[in-house]
Structure formats: structure tokens, C-alpha cells
């Protein structure tokens, strides 16, 4: 079994490295440094670390002011609170103002576990992707997270990075190079393509393995950059494999599936199926139990693949 590391742990460590390299890196948090792992940065650079208390709207505003005077602020909280708690602040003070703020959220999706529905962000991608000019990224493991954090620090413009709470199996090795806006083919295939993000990438690979035994040759794409999305890879997948299944730990509305369907519909329509949360809130439970309850397991992806393939002409 692959080694498991929590992406947020790597986020915290990467921030410290960036802080040593660039004095303009500043970090903000809203009373969650032990959870988002910004605590490491706070320990090493207290003068550049602003734990603003339980005030996410103010955190976003302060970050925008810092950015307008040349700083590179990373603002972190849970995914339910940004964009949920401070959507208008992100909209006006960052997106409309076109300021160079990096919002990195943790604890997205049902894998938050026992804390339950109020803490399980399942609509954050829908909200944040609706804002013009935002770059939106969902890393699939700890290695990709480290690369993504370095990339957004160097990128000019507002960015949103979505991380989860639990440890994730590594799907990459140290040689991996992240490219902004590019899909990554994790596994070649010609019968169907599964496009996955975040927690679901490892599940998609597991599903493809099982489907291979049934003679179904399944391509797996990791789509870390949701915006701007890799249209070329999506159209290519539609043309070459004739069916697409998306997999995300998010509402079916407005996330990866919606974005991919829009592109497929406009370019090369093929049968699609969507592995996502179906218009309900989460609940308390163990992460594995919740993935099972909401149909977000490898077996659910495999089922969606069989169903989509049936509809191929």
C-alpha cells in the first residue's frame, strides 16, 4: 500500500520554506493554525504571521490590503469558511480588485468526518469557480500539494487551493512536476476516461484497476487545476475514449462534473456520469463510512463507468 501523508501537513512545511526564501510571504489564519498547519510558519516568522481570531471576513480584507502593497499573503481556514463565510469579501476585495491573495483551505468534503455537516464543505468549488480571474486547484496528494503551493506563490493573481483533512495515499513520486492548467494522465486507456480531483484520484486508480479485470480499458486523468481547466485534455478524452466519468468530493452542482460537462457539451458530446454528492448535506461518521454513504468509493466510480459505457453509441 502507498505511503499516506496529510496534504495540509506538507502545506504548512512548504510555507516555512517559502518564508525563508521570500520576505514578502505573509500568512493569515482565523484561529485554526493547529489544523490548517500554518502554525509552523507562525512559529518561525511571528512578525509575518497574523492569526486574526475567528473573523474570516476581516482576514480576507487584511490579506487584500497586504497584497495591494506588494506582500504575497496566504490566508487559511476551513473550506466551509472560505469561501462560505466570506464570499462577498473574496468577491469584491480580492477577485474584483484583482489582488494577489492565495486562499488555501483545508478540511474540505465529507472526509472531515465526525464534525458533521456544518464542517463539510461540498459547495466551495462551485462558489469560487464562479469568480472571474480566480485560479482554483485541488491537489491529489501531499507531493502534488507541495508543488502546487510553490506554484501559486510564484503565480500573479488570486488563487484558491483546496485541501482535505485526512492523510492521503501518495499517487505521485518525487519526480512529479506540477503544471498549472494541465491535466495529468495517471493511466492510459481507450474505452472510457475517469477525470478525478483530490481525494478521488486514488479511488479512480483503484477503480481502473478493478475494471481492467473486466476488460474495460479505463483512462484516468487527474485534473488538479479546475480553473483555468485543461480543455484540450477533456476534448481529447471525449474523442478518443467516447465516454467520461467525473469523480469529486463535492456537490454534483457546480464542481468538476459541471465544468467538464459544459466543455464536452460544447465540443464533442459523449455519454457522461458523475460521481459526486447528490444535493444533500453530509453528516457525522468516520471518513471511510462517509465516502461509502455518499457513493464516493472506487466501486461507485466503477459502477458509473459501466453505466456510461452502456450509453456509448
Amino acid at each position: 500500500m502507498a505511503e499516506e501523508i496529510a496534504p495540509r501537513e506538507v502545506y504548512g512545511k512548504t510555507l516555512v520554506e517559502l518564508g525563508r526564501e521570500n520576505r514578502d510571504i505573509v500568512v493569515l489564519d482565523a484561529d485554526l493554525p493547529p489544523s490548517t498547519m500554518t502554525k509552523y510558519f507562525g512559529q518561525e516568522f511571528p512578525e509575518r504571521f497574523f492569526n486574526v481570531g475567528i473573523a474570516e471576513q476581516n482576514m480576507i480584507g487584511i490579506a487584500s490590503g497586504l497584497a495591494a502593497s506588494g506582500k504575497i499573503p496566504f490566508a487559511s481556514t476551513f473550506a466551509v469558511f472560505a469561501p462560505g463565510r466570506c464570499f462577498d469579501q473574496i468577491r469584491v476585495s480580492i477577485a474584483q480588485a484583482r489582488l494577489n491573495v492565495k486562499i488555501v483551505v483545508t478540511h474540505a468534503g465529507v472526509t472531515v468526518g465526525e464534525d458533521g455537516a456544518s464542517h463539510q464543505a461540498l459547495e466551495d468549488l462551485s462558489l469560487i469557480c464562479s469568480l472571474p480571474g480566480f485560479t482554483v486547484i485541488v491537489p491529489a496528494d501531499a507531493i502534488e500539494t507541495a508543488r502546487v503551493i510553490r506554484t501559486v506563490a510564484a503565480h500573479q493573481g488570486p488563487c484558491y487551493v483546496r485541501l482535505c483533512r485526512p492523510k492521503l495515499p501518495l499517487v505521485y513520486d518525487d519526480t512529479y512536476r506540477f503544471q498549472l492548467g494541465k491535466a495529468v494522465e495517471m493511466r492510459p486507456g481507450k474505452d472510457v476516461t475517469v477525470i478525478a480531483i483530490g481525494v478521488m484520484v486514488a479511488q479512480a486508480l483503484e477503480a481502473a484497476e478493478a475494471l481492467a479485470k473486466e476488460g474495460i480499458d479505463c483512462r484516468v486523468l487527474n485534473m488538479p487545476t479546475l480553473k483555468p481547466i485543461d480543455k484540450y485534455a477533456i476534448v481529447k478524452a471525449a474523442r478518443e475514449t467516447g465516454a467520461i466519468v467525473t469523480a469529486e468530493e463535492h456537490q454534483e452542482h457546480g464542481g468538476l462534473g459541471s465544468i467538464v460537462a459544459r466543455i464536452v457539451g460544447k465540443t464533442h458530446p459523449v455519454p457522461m456520469a458523475f460521481v459526486a454528492v447528490k444535493d444533500v448535506f453530509g453528516m457525522s461518521g468516520k471518513p471511510a463510512e462517509l465516502l461509502e454513504r455518499y457513493g464516493l468509493m472506487a466501486k461507485d466510480i466503477a459502477g458509473a463507468v459501466r453505466e456510461a459505457i452502456k450509453r456509448k453509441c
Binding site: V26, E47, R48, F50, V52, G53, A55, Q57, N58, I60, G61, I62, A63, S64, G65, L66, A67, A68, S69, G70, K71, P73, D88, Q89, R91, V92, S93, Q96, A97, R98
Partner: protein, 292 residues
């Protein structure tokens, strides 16, 4: 002569001021204010929509800042060491546009394009559209947080610029204003001055009837700010408060400026109808006559 010397000195020459980045004019502030009021009602009248009330109430505050207090260079709006003026009450964009045009940030003729398609002068302040506008605003309650961030950046960078945020009194209804107030005091950002344009009226009526914000001075005091109250239409009082604010250390200062909504135009004064309504042709003519 250092910048701070030149700002303190009333006898400093224009050349000294220009060197220090202080916009200067020998003209009497009152006559500048009157001209700005004419520009405000004219541009809103021409646009057919806009917010005259809260623009007119802030004329003396902004005139005092841009002509006597701020270090700024109209020819170089992004000058790194400029003092930052943040218009948190973004609907009062016309007063800021009138000031910026008068200072030379852009041609005065552009005021006639207010709120038109593709204009540099958007209905609410927009930093991506207008030279000299520091922050996009219009959704109330966000400006003070931005100002705290700008003040912290100056401190981290070892820069001596100051940050001024103009808030509306209605904006003090917003929770975020108080989140920012708490943070500013916590971080002891003494390079930040907030000014509340306390004209007592919000969109749908008098503050006291809609949502009472009083005692406003005690609220700011309780949030550990240094509080100064002035008549917001009296230049000596406003300038004196702004000078005092620069000398307060280890805490931010708020100037509660008691003003009259619609100040300078008799039928707009204290009239809630002119919060967000343009004068018609007849009213514009009457207003301009009063402002001669």
C-alpha cells in the same frame, strides 16, 4: 526639508511640497470645496443616478486630506511611499472622483462620463478602473480591513506611509467593521486613521430609526482606538484632528466627523431622498446657483 516637516509647516513652499509628494495649492480650501461640490452634483445630474448625499457630506474631509495631509503624486498614482486613502464608503465615489480630477489624476472632462458604459468612473469605486483609487468598494464594511492590511504592509516594509480610511456611519452596522477595528487595535497600527463621515442618515432613514449606532465614540473607545470628534465641515477642526492623529502612538485613531448629509445644497441637506438619487435638470440648476 523632510516630508513630515513640510506637512507641519503652513509656510512651506509649493516646491517643497511637490518634492515631498504633498499636493499643494495656495487656493483657499473653502473655494476648492465649493468647486468640488459643483462637480459632484453636476456629474451625478448628468449621469442621472448616483449618491449625492454621502458625497457632499465628505467634501471637507477629503479636501483637507488631499490638499494638506496626504503625501501623494498625481502623476505617479502607484508611488510606493504614497499615503493611502481608502474610500470604504464606495457609493461616495463622486467626491473621490472630483478630488482626483481636481488634483490631476485624470482629466476633469472625464467626470462627465460617470456611470457610462466603459467609463473609468464606475458607479462605485474600483481600483482596476480609476487612477488614484486604492481599493474597490461598494459592498460596505470591507474598507477598514483592507486599510489594516495596507498599514501592516507598510510596517513590515519599514515604510513611513500612513493609511486613511473613510467610513460611513451606516457602515458601522456591518460586523466586519468591528472585526477590523478589533484587529487594528490588537496590532497597534498607529499608521492608520479612520474617519467616520457621521451624517446620521443611511439609505432608508435616520440611523437612530433604522439601527442606532450610538454611542459611537464609546464603541470605538471600547475597541481601544484613540477617538477624536470634530465638526466635519470645519477645516481647522478637521486638519487639527488629522495632525493629532499622526502623533498618536501604539493605537489607531478614529476621527468621528459630524457632518450633514447633502451639505451645501439646501434641498439635499438632511434629506434621505438624496442618499441615492440624482437631481433632475431643474434641481441641478438650483443646486449650482446655491454653490456659486
Amino acid at each position: 526639508m523632510t516630508p513630515s516637516d513640510s506637512r507641519k509647516s503652513s509656510t512651506g513652499t509649493s516646491a517643497d511640497n511637490a518634492k515631498a509628494g504633498v499636493f499643494s495649492s495656495d487656493e483657499d480650501l473653502k473655494s476648492i470645496a465649493k468647486r468640488l461640490r459643483r462637480d459632484i452634483v453636476t456629474m451625478i445630474g448628468k449621469a442621472g443616478s448616483g449618491h449625492p448625499g454621502g458625497s457632499l457630506s465628505a467634501v471637507e474631509i477629503t479636501t483637507a486630506l488631499y490638499w494638506k495631509i496626504l503625501r501623494h503624486k498625481p502623476a505617479d498614482p502607484q508611488w510606493k511611499d504614497r499615503d493611502r486613502f481608502v474610500l470604504s464608503k464606495g457609493h461616495a465615489a463622486p467626491v473621490l472622483y472630483a478630488v482626483l480630477a481636481e488634483c490631476g489624476y485624470f482629466p476633469k472632462a472625464e467626470l462627465a462620463t460617470l456611470r457610462r458604459l466603459d467609463s473609468h468612473l464606475q458607479g462605485h469605486a474600483d481600483r482596476t478602473s480609476t487612477p488614484g483609487v486604492e481599493m474597490s468598494s461598494g459592498s460596505l464594511g470591507q474598507g477598514l480591513s483592507f486599510a489594516v492590511g495596507a498599514a501592516l504592509a507598510g510596517r513590515l516594509n519599514g515604510q513611513s506611509y500612513r493609511v486613511y480610511a473613510l467610513l460611513s456611519d451606516g457602515e458601522c452596522d456591518e460586523g466586519q467593521t468591528w472585526e477590523a477595528a478589533m484587529a487594528a487595535a490588537h496590532y497597534k497600527v498607529d499608521n492608520l486613521t479612520a474617519i467616520v463621515d457621521n451624517n446620521s442618515i443611511q439609505l432608508s432613514g435616520f440611523n437612530k430609526d433604522i439601527m442606532n449606532i450610538e454611542p459611537l465614540n464609546k464603541k470605538w473607545d471600547a475597541f481601544s482606538w484613540h477617538v477624536i470628534e470634530v465638526d466635519g465641515h470645519d477645516f481647522p477642526q478637521v486638519l487639527d484632528a488629522l495632525e493629532k492623529a499622526r502623533k498618536v502612538k501604539n493605537q489607531p485613531t478614529v476621527i468621528i466627523a459630524h457632518t450633514i448629509k447633502g451639505k451645501g445644497v439646501s434641498f439635499m441637506e438632511n434629506n434621505v431622498d438624496f442618499h441615492g438619487k440624482a437631481p433632475d435638470a431643474e434641481q441641478l440648476e438650483k443646486a449650482l446657483k446655491e454653490l456659486e
